[in-house]
Amino acid sequence: MKDIYLDNNATTKVDHAVVDVMIPYFLEQYGNPSSIHKFADGVAKGLKHARQQVQALIGCEHDSEIIFTSCGTEANSTAILSAIKAQPNKKEIITTTVEHPAILSVCDMLEKEGYTIHRMPVDKAGRLNLTAYQKLLSDQVALVTVMWANNETGTIFPVAEMADMANAAGVMFHTDAVQAVGKIPMMLQDTKIDMLSISGHKLHAPKGIGVLYLRRGTRYRPLLRGGHQERGRRAGTENSASIVGLGKACELALEFIEYENTCVKAMRDRLEKGLTEQIPHCFVTGDLYNRLPNTTDIAFEYIEGESILMLLNKAGIAASSGSACTSGSLEPSHVMRAMDIPYTAAHGTIRFSFSRYNSMSEVDEVLKVMPEIVAKLRKLSPYWEGDAPVADPEKAFAPVYA
């Protein structure tokens, strides 16, 4: 059996059609788009077309609202730092405890510089409390930055509604949508979202290209200054091949968005149902009724995620885990902790994330090997005895020496 890739929230395979449109920009149209000669005259047109392809996918009003960046992280940093620079009197930021580090680390740094950061908690299903959110909104807040969909659980936040609330309070709204764009339909011109981040490599474009959507009229300060590229909003010679590739990837994503929400979702659902039925003491994390169609995050209790991944890898299956050991830290994933998932389960979470390249036969293969893997590791676990966990596991095995 060919290797099975179920780690599409980490990154995706570049679509062959994307590679094909990129190649001429390496070998023929390699001129600097700012130059006046025939090596460059097709490039500006290529960039313009790509801008329109991105525009179509996210449904924004103007193609000039698309700013190409080097990645999703750059788009996030630009959005946050722009909001505070453009509104120097506002010293508060609202975000959530489950954001990606690309948001949380910037907020941590700003907190050290004197900003007040409101990190909204989530409940056990990973949901926000909008009443509490409403109370935080004030004229002191420079920016609300809330992810559209969570990278670990796939849980979708009601960002359109939250943007309306922010707008009513006169507060700028940014969303990190790197996991959502291309997986769920969106029409930005019908929302009050001011800024939105996209990452190319999450939707079958290459790594090293991203987008910051900036609604016309939103106050803005560039992060990178220099040349006049992107109308001076993001200096630096355009990554023309990757921009054109991203455009193509957006066009394909729009074409496949129904497939994503029917066929890809069916694969995810079959895997999830099969695993939770066959394997005792495991459960799906996040908001089961409000999730990305391609993601499932399952906690296998009393065993540890990195061990599971190593055995999966040996069986030719790629997935990822929220355990501490996979990242080399001492704490399991902050998303799992925020949802108050017990430690015995948080360390054993495995995320399977699909794309349109997966197939039902791959799902069946995972369903075949996973029960054995879990059983093998549970046999080694001090929290497991025979066919069941030891009674009251966290007390039954609680070493005095930590």
Partner: protein, 301 residues
């Protein structure tokens, strides 16, 4: 994915002595569920000879935790308790052909479980002699607890101080922000404020540099003095060093005795140069005298 050795993979995929030993008479438990690592080691010890007859492990943890537990049971089977007590975490890591720095704590956990089991057999209470913190400096494998202790003990105040005393931060510089955060925290506990521009505390064993430029005669005398101070160490290895000529900032030396032709001579010369620069406070180049003839002939030509 971690760069695990084949040995780690071998012990992970096919662990030895998994499960609890039946009729065990010694048990050691370490770790915590919150950190994602927990280990129970059970031993069957012969009461007369104190030889470990059987060893078994139950581990909740990552690949290297399971491999460390497995290899530990293999190491100690057949040992007496006194022999087993001498097993270090480095022994465990070595048996596994090395562990990534972030994973060394897995071997520490193995050693601790062993110590706890031995204490349990002897009816003693084992004392955890160290606390492990989050890994801060990945270049030199220094954790937060170690840095905190050094900051407390030596009244350290800057990142440079921490690097001088612990090596942490002396490599890729990625952890400087983390070290600053530790300094901020510890200094706040002491009621002080962290000031990144504070003067360094006295750096360990650095000789005050001479500021005034030296005359050539002074320079030669100083070089002789430094070489004299290094001579005993060289002679202990059966070698010696002789100053042949000083031209400007270049000192030409002959490595004699065992040093002559030794593979390490280049390193020794670099060491001498380093020492000379420290003491004299100026740049000195140390060159084997054999290079001098080339230099002279070029000048003549």
């Amino acid at each position: 994915m971690w760069d695990y050795s084949d040995k780690v993979k071998e012990h992970f995929f096919n662990p030895k002595n998994a499960g609890a030993v039946v009729d065990a008479n010694a048990t050691g438990e370490v770790g915590s569920i919150s950190c994602g690592d927990a280990l129970r080691l059970t031993l069957k010890v012969d009461d007369d000879s104190e030889i470990i007859l059987e060893a078994g492990f139950q581990t909740f943890g990552c690949g290297s935790a399971i491999a460390s537990s497995s290899v530990l049971t293999e190491i100690i089977k057949g040992m007496t308790l006194d022999e087993a007590a001498k097993v270090t975490n480095q022994d465990i890591a070595d048996q596994l052909e090395g562990l990534p720095p972030e994973k060394m704590h897995c071997s520490v956990m193995g050693r601790e479980a062993l110590q706890a089991a031995i204490a349990n057999y002897r009816g003693e209470v084992w004392k955890d002699d160290h606390e492990e913190g989050a890994l801060i400096c990945k270049c030199f494998a220094i954790d937060a607890v170690m840095i905190e202790e050094m900051v407390w003990a030596n009244k350290l105040r800057t990142v440079e101080d921490v690097t001088n005393f612990t090596k942490a931060g002396g490599g890729c510089a990625a952890c400087h922000e983390d070290i600053e955060a530790i300094l901020e925290k510890v200094l706040a506990e002491k009621g002080e404020k962290f000031d990144p521009t504070a003067a360094s505390v006295e750096a360990p064993a650095k000789i005050a540099a001479v500021k005034v430029p030296l005359t050539n005669l002074q320079r030669i005398k100083k070089i002789e003095m430094v070489l004299d101070s290094l001579r005993p160490a060289l002679m202990a290895d059966g070698g010696d060093v002789e100053l042949v000529e000083v031209l400007g900032n270049t000192a030409y030396v002959n490595m004699t005795g065992a040093c002559n032709g030794c593979q390490m001579a280049a390193m020794t010369i670099a060491g001498i140069q380093q020492r000379l620069m420290e003491v004299m406070g100026e740049f000195i180049k140390v060159v084997p005298a054999s290079e001098m003839s080339k230099l002279v002939s070029i000048e003549v030509a």
